[in-house]
């Protein structure tokens, strides 16, 4: 579904954020990307939809090569990749509804979007999605009136209304409290399952990642250090990704939480 071949990103400052990353993601797989700050996680997902231009290498989305596309063709492909951001990245002064509908910008013409005259099917879908995340009654509120968890739900609706095949998720829980973090992660993973979407989720919280995803990629200094199922993350593996630290607590914590959930 998504394939990265020898993806390299070297910034103008000379920092090599990605060193020839190869990655293959099948249809419908939810994948967590972990690694220390500065490992290139954010750069990696931004190179896929070319918010950051990769220096070299190829990105294939459902067989289409993205790195060589013209601006117009790239816009068409971006519609197939929904993005969810760390600080929600809602346009604060627009209403919740406008924010959700902005996910349709790639499908409607300028005047329609300028006059906010979206096709009825788009509006219906927006209400359906807002209802799914429990925010239908907030549609006409301004985005900056919402709490963090609510904003991230709107961000999820905006990504899903694009009708994407792939979700690019950049630290979705970094600014949320632990409970909301779990709810958001659960919501993202449920929605991916319902719609058969593949997703790449950048995430700091290793325990949270292990709870929800099918596959974990560990990135260090722009190279993949680990690729495997979540329960293969041993203290040794975490040490190769993050460096020396007592990892038992992190992993034990998950076991404890699982018991809690079972009760």
């Amino acid at each position: 579904m998504l394939r990265l071949e020898k993806l390299v990103k070297t910034y103008k400052t000379g920092d090599q954020a990605l060193k020839a990353v190869d990655l293959d993601i099948p249809e419908g797989q939810v994948l967590a990307l972990i690694g220390p700050s500065g490992a290139g996680k954010s750069t990696l997902i931004r190179c896929i939809n070319r918010l950051v231009e990769p220096t070299s290498g190829k990105v294939y989305l459902a067989g289409n090569e993205l790195t060589e596309l013209s601006a117009g063709a790239l816009r068409k492909e971006r519609r197939r990749m929904g993005m969810i951001f760390q600080e929600y990245a809602l346009v604060e002064r627009l209403t919740v509804m406008e924010n959700v509908l902005s996910g349709r910008l790639g499908y409607v013409g300028f005047w329609r979007s300028f006059l906010r005259k979206y096709p009825q099917t788009d509006v219906d879908e927006a209400f359906r999605l807002l209802d799914r995340v429990g925010l239908a009654h907030m549609a006409d509120k301004r985005a900056d009136e919402l709490s963090g968890g609510q904003r991230q739900r709107v961000g999820i609706c905006r990504a899903l209304i694009q009708d994407p095949a792939l979700l690019l998720v950049d630290e979705p829980t970094a600014s949320l409290d632990p409970k909301t973090s779990r709810q958001i992660m659960r919501l993202i993973c449920e929605l991916c399952k319902e719609r058969g979407l593949a997703a790449i989720i950048n995430i700091h919280d290793v325990a949270l990642a292990q709870m929800f995803v099918q596959r974990v990629i560990g990135l260090r200094f722009g190279a993949i250090e680990f690729d495997g199922p979540p329960d293969a993350l041993t203290p040794d593996v975490l040490t190769t990704i993050y460096g020396e630290e007592d990892w038992e607590a992190t992993i034990e914590k998950i076991d404890g939480e699982d018991d809690e959930a079972a009760e």
């Binding site: 918010l51 971006r78 993005m83 346009v91 604060e92 910008l105 300028f114 690019l168």
Partner: protein
């Protein structure tokens, strides 16, 4: 943990001072003393002709006293015409100036425009800002003759430099991530500006526009002094005829209108936050 302890011993018990902005002592003191020396020297070059000041005090007194008995009636026809002309100039120049400023501001924001466009737009702004209103007005009066057309063009031109520069700076300091999110959805450039940029800079645009309308009205009173129409022409005539009471009336009207605009812009800015 023992090595830092010896360092700590050295530090404890001594006063702490914020490091000075300029590290080198001699440079810091040279700059400070040099500045004061220049200040004293500069004041000493300003010559004051005290006998002239004494004569002038009488005229100044008349001028100020005129405010106690402003004459709105004698020249009411002229004042009304001048006022209407000023308001027309202000409104027309503000609308045209702001309309032209917005695309130039987009072009002058480095995070929105490509480098060649950026350089062109910044040059336009630099030219507009370098030429002071009065100088532009004198030139345009020479081209178009006396009257409000020259004033209207002058104010439009000045609005571009002011509004484009400040709006471009606001665009450059906008939250990049909000705009990035719109781009990631596959929006075209125009949609990106409309959804990602415009909502972020709208309050500033409205605030600056109100402020510029205020400035344009005040400028329209000055431009009349060089023949570019408006209430300034009436004011100039009143001064020339030593009709200080009429001049006082005009100034009072200007003050009231500027205060009203100030009040109005305050309300509007509070509402668009």
């Amino acid at each position: 943990m023992s090595a830092p302890d010896t360092d700590l011993q050295r530090l404890v018990g001594k006063p702490w001072k914020k490091p000075p902005f300029i590290q080198r002592n001699w440079l810091r003191w040279t700059l400070i003393l040099g500045f004061f020396a220049y200040l004293v020297a500069a004041f000493m070059t300003i010559e004051v002709n005290w006998s002239r000041v004494y004569e002038g005090l009488e005229r100044g007194k008349q001028f100020v006293l005129a405010f106690t008995s402003p004459d709105f009636t004698t020249r009411s026809g002229d004042i009304y015409e001048g006022m209407v002309e000023s308001i027309v100039m202000t409104v027309a120049a503000s609308v045209v100036g702001i309309g032209i400023s917005i695309p130039i501001a987009l072009g002058a924001a480095r995070n929105v425009a490509p480098l060649p466009v950026y350089l062109i737009c910044r040059s336009i702004i630099a030219i507009s800002r370098a030429l002071q209103e009065i100088i532009v007005a004198i030139l345009l009066v020479a081209i178009f003759g006396f009257g409000p057309l020259a004033g209207f063009l002058t104010l439009s031109f000045a609005t571009i430099g002011f509004l484009s520069k400040l709006l471009a700076e606001d665009i450059e300091s906008m939250d990049r991530v909000q705009a990035e999110a719109i781009k990631a959805s596959g929006a075209r450039w125009s949609q990106w500006i409309n959804y990602g940029v415009q909502p972020q800079v709208m309050p500033r645009l409205i605030g600056l526009s109100m402020y510029r309308i205020d400035i344009n009205f005040r400028e329209s009173a000055i431009l009349g002094l060089v023949g570019a129409g408006g209430i300034g022409a009436t004011l100039n005539t009143a001064f020339d005829r030593y009709e200080y009471d009429t001049a006082a009336a005009i100034l009072l009207i200007i003050i009231v209108i500027v205060m009203a605009l100030e009040y109005l812009s305050g309300i509007i800015r509070a509402r668009v936050q």
